[in-house]
């Protein structure tokens, strides 16, 4: 009985999300720009690891977090506004299962959007370069999953869908745009008084920053210089895996806690 509802809801969420106009707009835009980047790289006859790959990383850092957050923002509050949350929760399934099924369904929609963009870019790049570009798929999906999880968390405690939408856009601006600018400002205003290690740790503590550095390392090798011009060494694989897991799992766990502990769900 349990598996049946989870599977049905995941599929339902996937179908519904793939018809959402905002998700469609962002995904199509990402795919078009990814194809454009790939075409440009092919025309310039540059090494895929020097031009197309890093450019796609920059593109993905902008678009994928936004897609993930938008996908998650109405998961719960949207149901509440349509008066269907009670209907879902009256099904013979736990609140945790409902939440997990929603996450999985939306993650599938995200995988489709990411796969479409990167897949088309790889197809255009062609030949031996396609497999190199497709290495981006899993890490990019994980980056999106973190923002999906954050969006879902925002959706769980928001009272209105418009509030949730504003919050996820603000979060995206904060982590994708202003965070690095803030660090740059910190370096300038402290005139280098903040240590390189501290700056590096601050860069790593933002999923978008860690993703960008990991992917740069993938293309440029272990010797890399981050966007801020500060030499950094990435944490070990285990630590990084733990960080990605925590970034995805903690907002989900908090959503589950709110859903389970709240005495009223209608």
């Amino acid at each position: 009985m349990k598996g049946r509802i989870g599977l049905a809801l995941s599929w339902h969420e996937f179908v519904e999300r793939t018809r959402d106009r905002w998700v469609l707009v962002i995904s199509v835009l990402f795919a078009l720009l990814a194809v454009g980047t790939s075409l440009y790289g092919r025309g310039a006859e540059a090494d895929v690891q020097m031009l197309t790959g890093p450019s796609l990383v920059t593109l993905a850092t902008l678009f994928v977090p936004l897609t993930g957050a938008v996908l998650g923002h109405d998961a719960i509050v949207g149901e509440r506004e349509r008066n269907t949350l009670g209907l879902l929760l009256s099904l013979p399934a736990s609140r945790l299962e409902i939440l997990a099924a929603k996450f999985v369904g939306r993650l599938l929609a995200l995988a489709l959007a990411v796969g479409l963009g990167l897949g088309l870019a790889a197809l255009v790049a062609g030949g031996d370069e396609a497999p190199i570009l497709m290495q981006l798929f899993v890490p990019t999906l994980i980056l999106g999953a973190v923002f999906l999880s954050l969006g879902l968390f925002i959706s769980t405690f928001s009272r209105r869908q418009t509030t949730a939408a504003s919050l996820v856009v603000a979060l995206w601006f904060l982590l994708v745009f202003f965070y690095d600018l803030g660090l740059l400002g910190l370096l300038i205003f402290t005139d280098g008084a903040v240590s390189t290690e501290t700056i590096a740790r601050l860069v790593f503590s933002n999923p978008a920053g860690l993703y960008r550095l990991e992917m740069m390392e993938l293309f440029a090798g272990p010797e890399l210089v981050d966007d801020l011009g500060v030499a950094v060494e990435l944490p070990g694989t285990f630590v990084r895996a733990a960080m990605w897991t925590a970034w995805t799992a903690i907002p989900l766990a908090m959503s589950a806690l709110i859903m389970t502990c709240r005495r009223t769900q209608k």
Binding site: M1, K2, R4, I5, L7, A8, L9, W11, H12, V15, E16, R19, D20, R21, G78, E81, R82, N83, T84, G86, L87, L89, S90, L91, P92, A93, S94, R263, T264, Q265, K266
Partner: protein
């Protein structure tokens, strides 16, 4: 499952006592209506039954035995929320397909319920193009999908046109015939009084009355209204006689109409007076008080008592 009972339910939201010692039972093949003003606790009681609200006090009894609101119970319950809207980008058929899968119901049933609620031709249209009444019918189709023993409807008449109401009446009748237990809330007392077996009146989180519509009439003891169409030429004598007999309970109506408000047990005496003046009366009409009037009277009585 032959009966369910929410016994001595107490729910408090912050400083507000939403439900106070409320007991409501539904038997097999019975349609019970929860009525009451806004904030009376109707939806809270429904949400308690569905496990959406956890009460501080009281519990659910199934067939006379305490029973948790767990998945095995929820598997036996179908629910229609108030003003349900569904995902606008999906078609009616897609919405039903999800609930059919979730409930383990065959896809053939989707066509049957679409037919039943009159949405067969609109099944492939996106929900965003549905009127409020059509969305409500789609919600009704969702509750029709499983063969649930308990059906819970929150304000089911909202947005329904005459055709939609007809669908609802047919469905209610069918559920009763099939031995389902139906618990619903509504403001439309006049619409529903002939469709329900029992009415539970709630006010400020307490049960004010729980009886059949006929029982509520007796309890409210409201007068019936008798309207005489008096003859232009011979009506004067009866008019005088009625005014003499019933005083302030006689009201002049439009044209030559005369209204008399009278307790039901006094009807025979009134008709006897009329019988003595057959030439004075062209028409006569007896109206029972509407359930909304009875409801207002019972509310007033309860408020005075508290």
């Amino acid at each position: 499952m032959n009966s369910i009972e929410l016994r001595q339910i107490g729910v408090r939201f912050g400083g507000v006592q939403a439900l106070d010692d409320v007991t409501v039972a539904v038997e097999k093949a019975e349609v019970v209506l929860l009525a009451g003003p806004n904030g009376a606790g109707k939806s809270t009681l429904i949400h308690t039954l569905l496990g959406l609200v956890r009460p501080q006090k009281g519990e659910l009894f199934v067939d006379g035995q305490p029973h948790p609101v767990n998945n095995s119970f929820k598997d036996q319950v179908a629910y229609l929320p108030e003003a349900v809207a569904f995902a606008p980008s999906l078609t009616g058929r897609q919405v039903l397909r999800f609930f059919a899968r979730a409930r383990g119901v065959s896809s053939r049933r989707i066509e049957e319920v679409l037919e039943q609620v009159g949405l067969r031709n609109a099944g492939d249209r996106a929900v965003r193009g549905y009127s409020r009444g059509m969305r409500q019918r789609l919600g009704l189709a969702v509750t029709l999908l499983p063969e649930a023993s308990v059906v819970v409807l929150d304000e089911p008449t909202g947005g329904l046109d005459q055709e939609g109401l007809q669908v609802l009446w047919e469905v209610l009748e069918k559920w009763r015939d099939q031995g389902r237990m139906v618990l619903m809330s509504s403001h439309d007392l006049t619409l529903l009084e002939r469709r329900v077996d029992r009415i539970c009146l709630l006010c400020e989180g307490r049960v004010m009355a729980d009886d059949s519509p006929a029982g509520l009439r007796t309890r409210a003891n409201l007068p019936a209204r008798v309207t005489f169409g008096l003859s232009e030429t011979n009506g004067a004598s009866l008019r005088e006689l009625l005014k003499e007999h019933y005083g302030d309970d006689v009201y002049e109506g439009e044209g030559s109409k005369l209204h008399v408000d009278i307790a039901v047990d006094g009807l025979l005496e009134l008709l006897d007076l009329r019988g003595r003046h057959p030439e004075s009366v062209e028409s006569i009409r007896v109206e029972e008080p509407g359930l909304d009037l009875i409801y207002e009277r019972l509310l007033e009585t309860a408020k005075e008592a508290s």
